[in-house]
Symmetry: C2
Subunit: 517 residues, 2 copies
């Protein structure tokens, strides 16, 4: 066992798959079409400084990046715990025989061309792999998948994946949806405990992984992208058990008639009708989502939003139209704009000009948009974003400070949503303007002590996206509950409120485990 | 009249507001909080080389960017057609008296602090402006708005707005939603004929503008963001008339109870219940949308997608999970994945490897992803995107060429959707990889002769967005029907099909007017 990944005292039968002492990559090559393999399974391990042995196998021999290329797996001198298989499907049975002889513990078959094709000979090929593995105690991840991402154990599957560990356990039948979800969630400040892309689920399947994550002490919330299952009865009982232990968010891929057929053709899954799935997920107390974005929004709400006691919201942000749209999105999702007490409105009028603002709820805080400029005036050679960071823990003065105090005095207010749309800026935005005007809003969102969310939307165009990149990054760094659309925030938070009412005990322990802030 | 904006022979009573010979900006200043005004109403006119006179007014005198600063409007020597008012609301009645004396034709009141505040004295202030204007034949745009964007007449309202003209006429009660919609639509290759941000609608209102756009020969499609109306009866009859003339897309802001209140507080609008609006829009034959993104998606569908005869779709793109999700989104919106004829599948197997792909429908074209690399091999110092552009009109060979031919032979296929998600790329993407692998898909989308759509989704993280920027730009440049989400594309195209069935005559003339491709 590696020092830094000591498993808990009571173990789980699947835990060892995350703790290989050595990894061999078979089928690595310098050809452009296979550049992938090298980037995914060599570069990421080297970059993360994976502390175990790394072996590379390619029949032509030689070396790559200072590693010898063994001609066969058998040629590797030491023991091998984990093998990544990236050779054409037809050659994989022979390789698995070698793995068996080498007493390999886990084989991750990256290659595709098996049951997902629907061709009888390919289904048979997949069955052969399983048959070989079961002659020993070897386990198979896949085929047709990306394998394991375990940041704490320095096992990546793309060189851009962070090695900072978090508390989301993610099982995913699609490789692409690992990449999408991990990159998207990471850019918003969330981190994963362990991720497994398990493809065709020939051996290790969704039930094994759900059972594992339900146990795993490093995992506080479970996310799953599932296209189909092999054993409905076992799945339901495993899912129910997992959902009773920790919040579980499921994105069922292939929920339409065509989607069902597509899922069958992607991972060879027997998917089951959507009615069956709906009933099953509801009964198990699972949160269902319909896209990767929704899944990440829900994880953000679970991990970063203090569950509001009720549905009364106040929205603070820039722009009149944006405020109207924010209101529609929030109320459409079942939240309610809290009527602003007249006393609060009267006090706001003392420091926010009525012109150019809306002083009801939503509050258009545009007149406060210049409060950041004094902070930036003496910044010298530093980047505006670094100046804002300096003020992270300095209590805000001025209008923003007063506003934050007034929120605390607002009776029956359950949630504060801070919003800014870079798209609606009346002029082309640059770093100075963006950070000067939106920086204080971000600081206010950080310092607000109530249940809260921060929505930074910027779909307008490439320039808006780029100019707002640093602010999104700082929000992520601060560990703020960051959403990229009001619709997404509203839906996830409404679900959070319902979930917290139904299962308060499941949320009790998880929020303090968020990696930062 | 300016040479390049000659109005049609039969005129409309509102047409002259788009053809000022001179524009005066009152309240321009060098203070940071007023930097806006300068950027919006001076920089954009200078940059676009507005061919009329530009006058600036600021009581302290002096000059700015080579323009003299007149102390008062009265000091301006020549006649003034159009005045932009950006001074505090309380001073505006006096200014409007000056305008009246100067025989100004149109006053655009940028300032806010009027009826939208809900304060009786502010409502009265707004009424005074109207009363002054009506003593002459002066018209008011606003208050509380951004005014006119008319690319053909070189009138911008932000220096980053293009001066290329298109065929979308857009009336918008929110300033922010002009910025958002114009930037977003422009980045996807759409262009506007004329845009009016009209705010509180004290004088020129939604009815005037709808009536104008219905007449305007430069406008083929009408888009509207409306928070509220003053006269329901006139609105309904005007809307019905406009919708009978051209496709009309309406985003009603404030459709929830809280949204209604917010709209009242934003533009002082009497909004009316959502039930009333629903009935009214449906009866008028208007397409209703619920966000700016949906509005732009709908405009894209109307202007760039040949209306499919039926709902049978084929999806070609990269990634298994992405293909499953695409299918779900399309079928959820009421489209149907066309079953692939067995003969076509058999022929596809000749040139697309079964492994690493799904050869039913959706088609995972991953194995063709290397077809772009040969194009890039000898690119020398050129940018990859420029190499792809060179092949725009060269008929594709290889797998893509065969695929395109097979689509033509597929019976009862109504629509082809090309999709790529940069988020699901298994490795961090760079220009070379992105363009090598996705470039041919973009060329195929361009060369496909069937009703089609191109969906380039990239919400994963900042890197994915940046790396895909050039490809989105090229798709826009090619005039392709470019969507940024499958959900958005599916919904808009489904609506297009229904609209085309209900009102085929309304779509007949508009598509050939798209600015490019």
């Amino acid at each position: 066992m590696l020092e830094n990944t000591t498993p808990p005292s009571t173990s789980h039968p699947l835990d060892y798959i995350f703790h290989p002492r050595s990894i061999a990559v078979v089928g690595i090559s310098e050809d452009l079409p296979k550049l992938w393999i090298r980037r995914l399974y060599l570069d990421s391990l080297v970059q993360s400084q994976f502390p175990g042995q790394i072996y590379l196998v390619n029949p032509r021999g030689g070396e790559m990046d200072g590693f010898p290329l063994y001609r066969t797996l058998t040629d590797i001198p030491g023991p091998i715990d984990h093998v990544v298989v990236a050779i054409p499907a037809v050659h994989t049975p022979a390789l698995l025989e070698e793995c068996l002889a080498k007493r390999v513990k886990v084989v991750h078959v990256f290659s595709s061309g098996y049951a997902e094709t629907g061709e009888p000979d390919r289904i048979e090929l997949q069955n052969r792999l399983v048959e070989i593995a079961r002659r020993g105690s070897m386990r198979i991840i896949g085929p047709n998948c990306l394998g394991i991402y375990y940041p704490k154990g320095k096992i990546g599957l793309s060189p851009d994946f962070t090695m900072e560990a978090g508390s989301i356990g993610y099982l995913c039948q699609s490789g692409g949806n690992v990449d999408f979800a991990v990159r998207h969630a990471t850019s918003r400040g969330l981190r994963f405990s362990k991720v497994v892309s398990y493809g065709n689920a020939s051996d290790i399947n969704e039930c094994d992984l759900l059972d594992y994550f339900a146990w795993d002490p490093e995992t506080k919330v479970i996310a799953a992208y599932i296209e189909g299952i092999a054993d409905g009865r076992r799945f339901f009982s495993t899912l129910k058990k997992a959902a009773a232990a920790k919040p579980v968010v499921v994105f069922k891929g292939g929920y339409t008639a065509g989607g069902l057929r597509a899922a069958a053709s992607h991972t060879g899954s027997l998917a089951g009708s959507d009615e069956v799935w709906s009933g099953l997920l509801r009964q198990a107390g699972v949160i269902r989502v319909y896209s990767v974005e929704e899944m990440v929004d829900m994880l953000m709400a679970l991990l970063r939003v203090t569950p509001p006691k009720g549905i009364n919201v106040c929205v603070l942000g820039n722009g009149g139209g944006a405020s109207v749209m924010a209101t529609d999105e929030l109320e459409r999702a079942g939240l309610r704009m809290a009527p602003m007490p007249e006393a609060i409105r009267e006090r706001m009028k003392e420091f926010i000009d009525l012109a150019n603002s809306m002083l009801r709820n939503p509050v258009d805080v545009s007149p406060l948009a210049t409060e950041g400029f004094p902070l930036l005036r003496n910044m010298g050679q530093r980047r505006p974003i670094d100046v804002i960071r300096d003020y992270a823990d300095t209590a805000l003065g001025g209008g923003w400070g007063r506003l934050l105090r007034m929120l605390n005095e607002w009776p029956n207010l359950d949630l504060v949503v801070f919003q800014h749309g870079f798209d609606i800026s009346p002029m082309p935005i640059d770093d100075f303007i963006v950070i000067g005007s939106v920086g204080p809003l971000l600081l206010a969102a950080r310092q607000c002590q109530m249940p809260k969310a921060l929505v930074l939307h910027s779909m307008g165009n490439d320039q808006a996206w780029r100019s707002s990149e640093n602010l999104r990054g700082l929000a992520a760094e601060f560990g703020l509950p960051l959403f990229l659309s009001m619709r997404g925030a509203a839906r996830a938070i409404r679900t959070l409120i319902e979930y917290n009412r139904a299962y308060p005990e499941r949320l009790a322990g998880i929020r303090d485990q968020a990696p930062r802030a």
